[in-house]
Amino acid sequence: MKIVVCVKYVPDATADRKFNADNTVDRVGVQGMLSELDEYAVEEALKIRDGDESGDAQVVVLTMGPADARAAILKSLQMGADSGVHIVDDAIHGSDSVGSSLLLAKAVERQGADIVLCGMASTDGSMSVIPAMLAERLGVPQVTFASEVTVDGNTVRVRRDGDAATEVIEASTPLVLSVTDQSNEPRYPSFKGIMAAKKKPVEEITLADLGVAAGDVGLEAAWTKVEAYAERPPRSAGAIVTDEDGTGANQLVEFLAAQKFV
């Protein structure tokens, strides 16, 4: 069994995030990291691999991003993944989710995968659309937002916790699976894992390797365009409820209800 995990290299949210002159996120000049939500996807892949009885299951991590994005692959390899594929090409700059999913799908096809694993969302774009787009492009079922995963032969069964109900769905491989931060507890790389990762293969591929023309991806081809951006406004003072006539509790509940907290 082959599991391809899509992992994204994202700007560190605790550092200063910046934009380029063309209104795209600066992914080169800033401190980046493996998207935390994708650690759950890596962990799930490792669990599926280690639970596979055939013993020949392998986990390939796939990322698309600038040269520094190799750090996201490295961290996944340190956690225990077997090999990495890095789509890196200047022409990718500015790709939207349509372009990103095209490249990722081509790279998955090139690998061949029984399970394509994704996080529930990236921690920067957080559109949660890539898994669905990948499934569509690959022509395979999608089982997304899994908070619990069971693999039995070529059947993958997941629990999805929604706002109103919990559903259990299943599909047969090949498929695209995305997992939430409730699905598992990602491991930390061990020192042995750090040493082993140094010897694991990482393949760098370009648009040409994927047979994608430069004009099909990148900023020009993007369906979306960022016209302008603004700094997040400074935090404003919270609402204060003063209980003068005994209606304080009601006001409080109304406020919480308006914010959809209750």
Binding site: Q78, Y188, P189, S190, F191, K192, I194, K198
Partner: protein, 380 residues
Amino acid sequence: MVVERLLPSSEAEELLAVVHEICADQLAPRVDQAEADADFPRNLIHLLGQTGLLSLPFDEDDGGGGQPYEVYLQVLEEIASVWMSLAVDMSVHTLSASAMARFSSDEQRKTWLPDMLGGSQLGAYALSEPQAGSDVSAIATKAVPDGDQYVINGTKAWVSHGPHADFWLLFARTSADPKGGLSAFHVPAGTEGVTFGAPERKMGMTASTTTSVIFDEARIAADLRLGDEGQGMAIALSALDSGRLGIAACATGLAQGALDLAVGYAKERHQFGRAIGEFQGLQFLLADMSAAVEAARATYLLAARLKDADRPFSRQASIAKLVASDAAMKVTTDAVQVLGGYGYTRDFPAERYLREAKVTQIFEGTNQIQRMVIARSLLR
């Protein structure tokens, strides 16, 4: 603040990054409560073991990480900057396993070391006794041969995480000769006749349980003796040279944690219409704290590099322990000062850092004993 380090390899840098992550995610949120409740963090020790942090400086052939002391100590320092007593537990474990790694037969290392270094076991160091602190030659615990066993009787004092340990490195008397009569033993947990005293009610480091370990007709196989009969003192002192470096690194980390707290506070706290960090009187205090931390780090790193190069390092280890523990005492005291009245309350960790710093001047050889070692080496 992220400490500026010159690490010798890319794997060391990657290791420090993981340690940093574990400290932020797992240690920082738990330390205050665990220290307040005197709650020994067994599951975190387990995490450190799984991550390979309990075997870093041991040979790869023995199941260790094959890392230089220079790297191991900086990992220890990083942990101590967030959780002092956990770092001390880690240092004591390394100290306790070191005798098996250095003074064992091939047979012994094959039988015992893989598990000791596998990450699931925690070792403790049983040297001190109520009447034998600085003066190790006053040890009274006896190990008497009986067939292919030793029978052990006596009480060890002050054993760090004694009741939680999976093995003890025990020093006991095999003859009356004060110095030449000591021998070292590997005692696995579960040995019959071993019990523990009540936890000491300590000034600090409360999450690291310190108890006496009582041996009452405890029997261990004769092949659990490390080295020859009578070699115990040499083994104890050699282990302590390395152990002192561990304490120096812990003290440095503790001081760094206190400095970071003080700097953060000095930027936030306003008096006389300004952040207190804008007053030169306070700036000089912070500058001196920083100088003490960096000097402590440089001193232990030199000793570690000598050790890594297989050169004598005993005097430098004692100097490092002396300098770093005095730095920790000074820096933590000044951190309380920077926080003013709030520093004196348990709402901030400054007062805890101060309480934790004191012990670094006492254990693994008091600072008076360190001065004796240093002077003896100078005047030899």
